[in-house]
């Protein structure tokens, strides 16, 4: 079982509400800024993209890489974070 970061645990613990995209696991300041520039200023917008891609891991990773240049680890963290959030709250 891979270990999850503190950020992941915090994000998954409660409904995301109006949390910024930087609150997502794997998304730091730099990536967060890039996403915001693309219009994904809130975490729920990224969630929307995640859902539109039907929660598909590969597609979401590709999209994330293309949008903000996330590396493999960051992609994985973000995907896992959103997936787990969906499992709990969706």
């Amino acid at each position: 079982m891979s270990s999850t970061s503190q950020k992941h645990k915090e994000f998954v613990a409660e409904p995301m509400g109006e949390k910024l995209v930087m609150a997502l696991a794997g998304i730091g300041e730099v990536l967060g800024k890039r996403l915001e520039e693309k219009g994904f200023d809130k975490a729920y917008v990224v969630l929307g993209q995640f859902l539109v891609l039907k929660k598909d891991e590969e597609l979401f990773r590709d999209w994330l890489k293309d949008t903000c240049g996330a590396n493999v680890k960051q992609q994985g963290d973000c995907y896992g974070c959103l997936r787990e959030w969906c499992d709990s709250f969706l």
């Binding site: 520039e37 219009g39 539109v52 598909d56 999209w63």
Partner: protein, 441 residues
């Protein structure tokens, strides 16, 4: 690519800058206003962006303008020219159930489609190339597979070998890699005396080495060539085979030997190790100042055993070898796997507890001594008791007499009529005195 339909005027200055740089447009002064950037952006990039926009309405018009020239390409390679439905259909053809193809998802699905299309064409090209290099014989195919498997490790070993040759650190390599990937030392050279091979009947694969050794010179095969390699008729038209051969021969001086093929690495290794070990074993017996451990001294001993030790075959080095391979060998299991028990095991080291116990026992009194002392004391006490019983009156008799005398003096002084009492007193005194004695016993 923009995900939303964005107004460039709403871009940040930084964003405009990055976009300009991405398109190789010279930036204006660093302190220019955003408007300058925006103007540049719009003039140069605006049109391009319009072409890239992925809205449904603009698609047909824009894409047609931008990519009419690609019409000769099949639909496959022109994922951008497809409508959303067409894109979805093509993805479905490849077994991908796509979700809604929206502005944000279109790019992802286009890439996915392109990714699906590309690998379909690649394997065909590779296949033809491979079959052209290798022949159809079964053994060669099998061997080629094993060779390819070992190629990476062999080449890796080659590099390591060159590095470690002088440092003698190959024990690590030898321990981690499989034997078949082991690169025998450079002693694996072409033998000028083929007859020598015959002297060791137990060397089955030796011919492989010879064959490989002679491979570079492309001589006719010797009669000693094994059946295994019989199929491997040297075919000069095989360059691909094995740089392994050259590698395996331990950086030999024959680069042309890379043209050999039809042998397996395991055969090579065994052969090389066996034949190279022969001269070494005799030398090892003489040489004592090996760089290896004491276990290496045991190697010539075990070499006398009729059964060959696999490890010895694998690691023929018992001296500072050109390859620098040094391996410590585990103690052979005497009596196991048919090995005769010629030599006993050396004394096994005792466990720490037993060693401690032995240390302590030097200081502790031995048990037998304790028992003897105990018995002697018991005997002594018994003797004392027995002697005491015989002459019980003697030591105590004087004591009793003193007692009776004292009591007698006291009584006489009182009344004479009490003589009987005296006697009575004396007797009970005696008996009383005796009683404790008897009581003790």
């Amino acid at each position: 690519m923009p995900v939303f339909v964005e107004d460039p005027a709403q871009f940040s200055k930084q964003r405009l800058k990055s976009e300009l740089v991405a398109n190789n447009i010279t930036l204006p002064d660093a302190e220019s206003k955003k408007q300058v950037y925006l103007d540049l952006y719009l003039t140069h990039i605006g049109q391009k962006r319009a072409a890239d926009f992925s809205s449904d309405e603009d698609d047909d018009q824009v894409q047609d303008v931008g990519e009419e020239e690609k019409t000769k390409d099949p639909e496959m390679l022109d994922s951008k020219g497809l409508t959303d439905d067409e894109l979805k259909a093509s993805l479905l053809k490849h077994g991908v159930r796509a979700g809604p193809i929206v502005a944000s998802t279109r790019a992802v699905y286009e890439r996915k489609l392109e990714g699906l299309l590309q690998p379909a064409s690649q394997p065909k090209l590779n296949g033809t190339g491979d079959t052209g290099q290798y022949s159809d014989s079964e053994e060669e195919e099998e061997i080629s597979v094993s060779e390819q498997a070992g190629l990476e490790t062999a080449s890796h070993l080659d590099q390591n070998q060159q590095e470690d040759r002088q440092t003698g650190l190959n024990s690590q390599n030898g321990d981690t890699f499989y034997p078949q990937c082991f690169i025998p030392s450079s002693r694996l050279r072409a033998r000028k005396q083929p007859g020598r091979w015959k002297s060791n009947p137990r060397r089955n694969a030796r011919n492989v080495v010879e064959w490989c050794a002679e491979w570079g010179r492309a001589p006719p095969l010797s009669p000693l060539v094994l059946s295994k390699t019989s199929v491997g008729q040297p075919k000069g038209a095989r360059p691909g085979v094995l740089p392994q051969c050259g590698v395996l021969i331990g950086n030999r001086e024959d680069p042309s030997s890379s043209s050999s093929q039809t042998f397996s690495i395991t055969q090579m290794v065994e052969e090389g190790s066996i034949e190279s070990r022969c001269p070494l074993s005799t030398r090892a017996e003489r040489e004592r100042g090996n760089s290896g451990s004491d276990m290496e001294r045991a190697w010539p001993r075990s070499h006398r055993e009729p059964v060959t030790d696999v490890l010895m075959e694998i690691f023929p080095d018992t001296e500072p070898t050109p390859t620098g391979i040094v391996a410590t060998r585990r103690r052979p299991i005497k009596g196991a796997a048919g090995r005769p028990v010629h030599f006993k095991y050396p004394d096994t080291p005792l466990s720490p507890t037993t060693m401690e116990r032995q240390e302590l026992e030097r200081f502790l009194v031995p048990r037998w001594v304790q028992v003897v002392v105990f018995l002697s004391i018991v005997c002594l006490l018994y003797l004392i008791y027995a002697c005491g019983e015989d002459s019980i009156d003697n030591p105590f008799g004087a004591f009793l007499e003193n007692l009776s005398l004292k009591t007698g003096d006291v009584e006489v002084s009182l009344e004479t009529g009490v003589e009987e009492r005296l006697l009575l007193k004396a007797e009970p005194a005696d008996t009383q005195v005796l009683d404790p004695l008897t009581g003790q016993e």
